[in-house]
Amino acid sequence: MTTAIQPAGGGGAGGGGSSSGLADVIDTILDKGLVIDAYARLSLVGIEILSIDARVVVASVDTYLRFAQAVNRLEISETEPKGLPDLTGDAVKGVAKSKTQSALDAAGQKVSDFLGQGQPERQKATRVQSSREDQ
């Protein structure tokens, strides 16, 4: 087996994987990998990284408030109840989407009441599925 290492900075790794950014590298190499037990001569050189703590996910007051603010922003721009044109369109999202779906469910129910079982149920399922795919 004859093998070679390419110079650093020579572009992305071969194959379909994306190249690693610094954050990915930090996740991987700082707390993983082989450590030899004969540690008398083998030492970890001082590591100048102070920002690691910031990467730890802790559910805290700050996190909760950030989520709440994100919902607030979302509500203003994304999930305001939509007018009729939006409700009938395909790209209905979020809360409006769920309302649309229950409306579709109800409509499907009524249609199947009229027509009996089978086909209308299938149509309803197809429509709900396609609205998911648009998400």
Partner: protein, 265 residues
């Protein structure tokens, strides 16, 4: 014992200022390009110190400054990952430095020769891949809200009051979102693990590193079957749409599957 003449000489002349940085353990017949660049500034030249059937990927490093710049970290991973795409490699944790080439040959390679050789043969043809998913903020929040009536009620309460007066509702809403994302993350992670069954020989679920992290899974897979891994992920991408961004990293050295002195576990 065979060690690099160049490294041996350098180490004797400058023992106080420099050490030998060890990236990982490789088969003894691995050859390294002359222009492979290691950690340090200027970057050290990467070489192999050999002992029997195993070798150590090393470069000389000045020890008068602490390691850990972004360039150092990326050089460490780059050297290992380039190797992992073509040969088995046991990665060392970042920052391992020995005093000289002889110490590497004796204390690392000779003392652990058989277990290294065994681990390398187990790793042959396989490498680590990491699947990372990040939720689209708008999509995941909309999803949580649409499935949780209490969250909707809290959102409406927050909307109806001045910001200061709705603090309790904000906290309650945030907690619901946080718990819901955690539950969704676990379910989605399980979906990924199930989808990788059959292409991955080992899987390690990593903790999330961001509030909106969806998936953080490391796997050991045959490099020949990378396309099957990609196919599995493409199917998931199709199912999930823009709900999350799903990335595949690799092939990488088997960081998640080489532990202390018991590699392969």
């Amino acid at each position: 014992m065979t060690t690099s003449d160049q490294l041996g000489n350098q180490a004797q002349g400058t023992q106080r200022q420099s050490g030998i940085y060890v990236y990982g353990i490789v088969p003894a017949d691995l050859q390294v390009d002359d222009d492979a660049r290691g950690v340090g500034d200027p970057p050290g030249r990467v070489e192999v110190i050999r002992e029997g059937d195993v070798g150590a990927l090393v470069s000389e490093v000045q020890i008068d400054r602490a390691l850990g710049t972004p360039d150092d970290l990326q050089a460490h991973e780059y050297v290992l990952d380039r190797t992992a795409s073509i040969a088995p490699v046991l990665p060392m944790r970042f920052g391992a430095v020995l005093t000289d080439a002889d110490s590497v040959a004796t204390e690392v390679l000779r003392d652990h020769h058989d277990e290294f050789a065994k681990a390398l043969s187990e790793l042959k043809g396989r490498a680590e891949y990491i699947v990372k998913g990040r939720y689209n903020e708008k999509a995941i929040l909309s999803e949580v809200l649409s499935e949780n009536a209490q969250a909707q009620a809290l959102r409406d309460d927050i909307r109806s009051k001045p910001e200061d007066a709705s603090r309790d509702s904000q906290m309650a809403l945030g907690e619901i979102i946080s718990n819901a994302i955690e539950a969704t993350r676990q379910a989605d992670t399980q979906t990924v693990v199930n989808a990788l069954e059959g292409v991955a020989s080992l899987v390690n679920v990593r903790p999330p590193t961001h509030e909106y992290d969806a998936i953080h899974v490391a796997m050991l897979a045959e490099t020949d079957r990378q396309s099957a891994v990609e196919q599995a992920l493409n199917q998931l991408r199709e199912n999930w749409g823009d709900r999350m961004q799903l990335r595949l990293l690799g092939p990488l050295a088997a960081y998640d599957f080489v532990v202390a002195n018991a590699p392969g576990g």
